[in-house]
């Protein structure tokens, strides 16, 4: 690899994320709200904007998942 190539920034293709898609879920038993990235942008740090719960779990994406039978 030449020096010019090393200096030029490498562009990484990032997947397009739908910021309104419900990707997380608050595990607070009284809340259980599903949250999008936009919902999380409205609060400081990572916590549920509805109940303040600090433990969120990631939900299964809507895309079909292909798994090999190994």
């Amino acid at each position: 690899m030449s020096e010019e190539d090393m200096d030029s920034p490498v562009e990484i293709e990032r997947p397009v994320v739908d910021r309104d898609e419900k990707m997380y879920k608050c595990i607070n038993r009284e809340c259980r709200k599903e949250l999008s990235i936009n919902d999380l942008d409205n609060v400081q740090g990572i916590k549920c904007p509805y109940c303040g719960g600090r433990v969120l779990i990631k939900l299964r994406p809507k895309q079909a998942k292909r798994v090999g039978c190994i």
Binding site: K65, R66, V67, C69, I70
Partner: protein
Amino acid sequence: MRIEFIPVDKDDTLMFIVEGIDATFANSLRRAIMTEVPVYACNEVVFYTNSSPLYDEVISHRIGLVPLTTPEGTDKDSKMVTMSLEAQGPTTVYSGSLVSDDPSVQPVNDEFPLLKLGPGQSISLNAECYVGYGKDHVKWQPGLVGYKNYPIIDVDKQRCNLCGECVKTCPTKILGIEEGSIVVLEIFKCTFCKSCEDACKRLNENEIITVRPMNDKFIFRIESFGNMSTKDLLNTALNVIEKKAERLDQLLNE
């Protein structure tokens, strides 16, 4: 070569005696049946939802190991078959819940448990089934095959005192005393353990009974997993060996 079939009670088992072959050919036949017969098995699973406690990978692995019926004449170029599964908890999902788009390709038994779903849990998937060979993955293995040499059990009737020690010692109980001599009742069950020889030597200090294998006669046992009948399995494997031999002959002539 002479083949003699042995009657067996089970439908999925075939036993036969082959005479006039050597161990090399017997082993090539065993390997051909286990690794060269094309059968259907699930190769990939597309998951749409899975809220069960099991990971997608675990479920796909289990579905992959479900043996599927394979119609006659199937080869590597046969079309892909899709099976779909949709279930809502609480329930236990069995292989019978897999709905195939080709009625000739189905799970061989509807009662293989795949997973348990609790209340509110669900699963939805499509399983893609392809034709493959046992040499690539055990899910494409159509059955089990074993062979052993045909035993020869010789009894020196003149020196035998009919003490009955060999009859008592034999773990598979294949020996008996009939009309004043030792007789072999079920020779197929002999495992060459030579317990009878040892017991006889202990008491008589002579080799009155001897057990030895025949080198050109073999007892085969084929157990099918249900993908196809045992006779189809044997025929397909013999065709494979024949084609390979023809191909080798053709290459040598070129």
